[in-house]
Amino acid sequence: MIEVNNVSKEFKVYTRPSGFINTVKSAFWREHKIKRAVTNICFNIEPGELVGYVGPNGAGKSTTIKMLSGILTPSAGDIRVLGIVPYKQRMKNAKNIGVVFGQRSQLYWDLPVRDSFVLHEKMYDIPKPIFKDNVKLFTEILQMEEFIDQPVRQLSLGQKMRANLAIALLHNPPVIYLDEPTVGLDIVAKAAIREFIKEINKMQKTTVIITTHDMTDIEEICQRLILIDKGQLYYDGDLHFFKQQYGGDYVITIQVKSNSINPQHPMLSVVEKEANRIVIKGNSAELSLVDAIDFYNRNYEIIDIGIKESSIESILRDIYTGSIQMQQ
């Protein structure tokens, strides 16, 4: 459905001339550096997949999304979205996709949200019954009743984002790209958006690519994770597998009844220890969490227990800072 083969994108970054001579010279020839935003990326996405496209700032996420939308032309490699080469047939591709850029709004600033919906209807030639059904449905799921007839300039960020998400899906696109759709939103708005994405995916088998810095988005929405950094692909695969392989660290805090707790398990390391309370750390590749708890349960009478597993967030932090090495 989405095929990305050896795609790279380079930007020419022009250096600002200083001094008179250089300014004159720059009118004819300007020095530039090549900035590689995306390098040799490959992936295939099947219909209905929910893909988290993750990486630190400047990793090349938005550049990839723009190439998939036909806005940017790749410097090398080929892209096909439903068989169409996006940059060659931008308009045709546009009909198949819905795009949300978290920092940008595609709504008429001065007009009620509903007017932007109507323009969208005509732009995409959406059949009336489908348009009506979708407006009704989306208004309900995204809780837009209270503001759909209000001018956009009066809306909160979260309300605007919900409307932008709705508008991107009005024409039932088989594919949607969401570039940081939850950036700057509160918990309620985030929850509504996640719920909506999952719901649409379930109902219409919509293929979703989402970029975000909020790992809760990824954990709640995605099955598959694609990780890029500095334009390069680092991981592409199942989200649970990723967690198991690179995470798997856990920290358990156990409080027992007896006054001397004396751990002897070779696979667990002690973080903190008091008379009847102990904090231990393990990794599920060596000893599963269940076995670790079971070990203490067999030897002591546990009165309280706290468990912390490593989140994608913490795994990614470790990857970005280099304390976890990725295996290619």
């Binding site: 938005s62 723009k66 806005i71 931008r90 850029f101 940008r104 600033w109 001065d110 323009l119 001018p151």
Partner: protein
Amino acid sequence: MKMKAQYYFTAIRLGLKSKTIYRASAWIGSVTGIFGLLIQVAIWYALLGAGARFDTTFQTMLTFSILMQLSNAFVATFSGDAISRLIRNGDIAIYMARPIKLKQHLFLGDFGRNLFAVFLVNLPVCIILILFYGFTIPPDWRTIAISIIMLINGMIILFHYRYILGLVSFWLIQNPFTSWGFQNVESIFSGRVLPIWLYPVWLADLTQYLPFRYFFYEPIALFVGKSTLGNSMNSLLIQCIWLVIFVALEKIASHFALRKLIVQGG
């Protein structure tokens, strides 16, 4: 085809609607725009009164001024500013991700916004003027038809001209139209205020080599009988050449503008 028409119509309608939101400022803007016309009419009335001078009657000048005012009102806003802003802040990405042509889309919105001033301010004032002082109507329908075709042509050329200036402003940081006095150049060479048939010969000759008189002066001169049908066919041809030149220039400028700073950030 039908769906395209619906999209055009909706884009124009919403442009118009967005203008009516800030009704007060829209009114003030359009009303100050019409003062120019009233002043012009007053001057011509004082100069020509009931008689004719320089081969020109008051009614000819009134018709000329009214048509000039209305034609300009249709294209009063500048998409050029919008396009360079969109490229600069990267919002152009939103438009490029939709199945629309950006230039066309901006034109439709602008056209809708201009309709507010055309229908709510300019047209009523013009009708009152016509009721009081009359209006010159060409004797045959061919002249009327050709003038209208040329007026529409002129609007398209003018739109492209300003669109290009907007794109250029993307490199120059300023829009030459508003900040470099291009506006004055345009009003001198376009015969917008003073008809070119009243210009000294050398200046009138000079205007023939520039695009500006082919915006609205030529069709209106034909309409008020200051140009013959034969002459106007010639002007129509030159208009078409300018149209081709401007469309080509716009394509080139758009291409480079988009290539250079394409869709920054976010």
